[in-house]
Amino acid sequence: MAQSIAKEFTKGLWTEIAPFRIVLGLCPILAVTNTVENGIGMGLATTFVLVFSNFFVSLFRNSIPAKVRIPCFIVIIATFVTIVELLMQAYTYPLFLKLGIFIPLIVVNCIVLGRAEAFASKNAPHLSIADGLGMGIGFTFSLAVLSAVREIFGTGAITFYETPIVLFGPSFEPFTFMVEAPGAFVCLGLLLCIMNLIPKK
């Protein structure tokens, strides 16, 4: 049993890492990865929603009729998204200001509904939590990697809580394209390409 929990947890970290292996959740990964701070914040918020929605969906999976399962999942997910939004507003307000409109969009993030539908509605709660946690951490990791690439090349530094860690000297001229929207597409494409060159195992 411990083995299967570990298996469900680790698959989200590499073999099924979103969005590089399962191409889901592209909206946030394109929208908020201009800084590492935003990327990780978004990833953690998604992880939170993912774990709890997975848990509750899994808990009620036997009592939810199949015909209304999607509305039920959406209600559960939306509840946790609102909770995240309120909590972020209350405790990490500057981050909330930055992620602003993207937080409510977690509801329609394919990963969350995708895991609820594909995994949590068919598996026991403890496995679902492991799955959600693994997927969420993997997603956070992906967002962090992509946003790190973009922020480093785009600004020459990584900024955490307004303290920049300068990685290149003053002679570095920022590749501004990378932090702009088209840069996200190109960068994501190149990372997807590299991930496909690396074998799964």
Partner: protein, 197 residues
């Protein structure tokens, strides 16, 4: 039929529970959020507007209940005494922008009835386009010194406000907020003066 009932039941229960949890959470975090909003949103705007205030406008804030479009709301006012001794008040109004409401904080000199400064507080505008109304102080600086005889509409609608190029909808939201400020101020001025005595 039974299945139908079950479906309705389950959905009702889930939504009810969810609604309950959320309302509890909303009320319990309301205060915290308000203080956060004050700290991170209103405070910088107030600070920028009343950069020469001798008192603490945040602390001395007061609320006046009023009706906007048949809805009872409370408006928070931030009074200030400036270095030159003049009294002023700042408050926020909202107008619909591209992604949601745009909040505009306006500081008004109570004696001359002129706008001291205006700042955008909240918005959900597209980063890089509409968000410039907040990031770019030169845009809202056009309000400085305007009196309430001005028409708070965009210039191409026959008003006095310049639009921010490329962000007409957001600019329109800002002008609507400014017009709202004008309306509220003219309506509530006696009460404000009363409170500030």
């Amino acid at each position: 039929m039974r299945e139908m009932i079950k479906m309705v039941m389950v959905l009702t229960i889930i939504t009810a529970v969810s609604g309950g949890i959320l309302s509890v959470l909303k009320t319990s975090t309301e205060e915290k959020i308000e203080s956060q909003v004050l700290k991170f949103q209103k405070a910088p705007a107030i600070g920028a507007i009343f950069d020469t205030a001798t008192n603490d406008p945040l602390k001395e804030r007061f609320k006046i209940p009023t009706k906007v479009k048949d809805k009872d709301i409370e408006i928070t006012f931030f009074p200030a005494v400036l270095e030159d001794g003049s009294k002023a008040v700042a408050f926020e109004a909202k107008g619909a922008g591209f992604g949601g409401d745009v909040g505009l904080m306006v500081g008004i000199d109570l004696e001359t009835d002129k706008i001291i400064k205006a700042r955008v507080t909240t918005h959900s505008e597209t980063p890089g386009i509409g968000s410039r109304v907040k990031d770019d102080a030169t845009y809202v600086s056009q309000f400085t010194g305007m009196g309430f005889d001005a028409t708070f509409k965009l210039k191409n609608n026959g008003g006095d406000i310049d639009a921010l190029s490329g962000a007409t909808v957001t600019s329109k939201g800002v002008s609507v907020a400014a017009a709202q400020v004008k309306k509220l101020y003219l309506k509530l001025k006696p009460q404000i003066l009363n409170k500030m005595k």
